[in-house]
Subunit: 222 residues, 2 copies
DNA sequence: GGCAAATTCAATTGAGTGGTTGAATAACTC
DNA sequence: GAGTTATTCAACCACTCAATTGAATTTGCC
């Protein structure tokens, strides 16, 4: 077997890691911040043993790193370029896999009724103090890092905490990324309740990757 | 099975396509330009039936497109973002797969003895008329598109045609991309023969992707 | 229509993968 | 050190995949 073939076989190992939906899901969660094995197993709906297997495989491929912290093993994305890869991967997938386009169109976008706000636009509007920014991810992920000035309101809390929002200000919601449904849902519900609302185009990982400021201050401070 | 899981399974299909060394090799060749099934089978060292299977699979995933031309079926990369994906994929692979780093270090780079020239630098030097640019890929790929002003000298022809090169000018060689060995080999041989030589950092696909000018003029014109 | 070339299809084989289960290991607590 | 919790290991089964082989299909040419 030629050198070229051996080399391509090595690269193919990376492809193998990305060739399983469960692993992609785990990577998506890890892109939000580091987590323990059973934390990941819970959010991804997998058995602990199964999640552990997938994580170990990704570790061998160098995409994630693990460290021990007491009884727990904490996994994290190995480097920013992995998030970048995931992003390109998703973009190409969305463009080229007919099935993805169909699924996304059918389930998520009510066409562009929920027209997104770009990162630049958000920065501008925040500066002017025109908007309320909400982070629709679970509390754990919010605490691991969020956009400065965002308040954490999960989907479950949304109805209950709507009263806290100023109806005069536009509400902008963001979540994990372009294929996370939280922000779509939040926007839909807030619209029903009469708010002017839009979703932020990038998710938190894309925001972070772009080098924009992030914050890890406690919930109370927002 | 949740929507999120289904969606990730769809994306995983893309990973599956990239999870095989032979397919990656075919994509690398296709990134040089379109080719027929048996042309691809020959350059990749596969049986025609096997190449056909791989190509059909990549077609189903939307990464390549096929068109009939007489008796032959011509395959081509579906869009530029596929080349971009391949590029990110290789970059991440090189950084994160320890085995790749080892193999590449051992076989290709005699460390940076063959320090590469960037695309910008080449454009600058070409403008000043300081360098001879050679394209070390097979004739077919050269004819499908090359950097303007480059002369096509394959590895096989190199020894024989060295006399055509001006020993006073620096010679810059390029080939298929960062994991193609042709330009390394050409540079090594030319150095032995006493030429000042370097290799171009990007390969032809990367050059094209960057939107830099390309030419398809006949060999005689160079 | 009959023949040849290029490609695809269909069936088969051996190897690898994903998920489950139950046992083994590691670290902390008492 | 016994007990508890978090993680990994090992064995297993059903399933998918890569490559080969030979037949079938499509197209062009006489």
């Amino acid at each position: 077997m030629s050198f070229k073939q051996q080399l391509n076989d090595q690269f193919a190992r990376l492809g193998k890691v990305l060739s399983n939906g469960r692993r992609l899901e785990l990577l998506e969660h890890l892109a939000q911040g580091e987590r323990s094995v059973d934390g990941l197993a819970r959010v991804a709906g997998l058995s602990v043993a199964n999640a552990s297997q997938h994580l170990r495989r990704m570790q061998q491929a160098g995409l994630v790193v693990a460290r021990r912290e007491g009884k727990q093993v904490i996994y994290a994305i190995a480097a920013d370029d992995v998030v970048e890869l995931l992003d390109v991967f998703r973009r190409v997938g969305e463009r080229h896999l007919a099935e993805v386009r169909q699924m996304v169109d059918a389930h998520l976008h009510e066409k562009d009724a929920l027209e997104p706000v770009s990162a630049e636009e958000l920065v501008e509007r925040c500066r002017k103090g025109l908007v309320t920014l909400i982070d629709v991810r679970p509390e754990e992920e919010y605490e691991a890092g969020h956009i400065p000035g965002a308040m954490n309101v999960t989907i479950e809390d949304l109805e209950r905490r709507m009263a806290e929002l100023d109806p005069e200000r536009e509400v902008i919601a963001y979540c994990r990324g372009p294929y996370c449904t939280f922000s779509f849902e939040a926007v839909a519900r807030l619209r029903e309740a009469g708010f002017r609302t839009r979703r932020l185009e990038p998710g938190f990982p894309e925001w972070k990757l772009a080098g924009l400021p992030i914050s890890t201050e406690e919930k109370a401070a927002s």
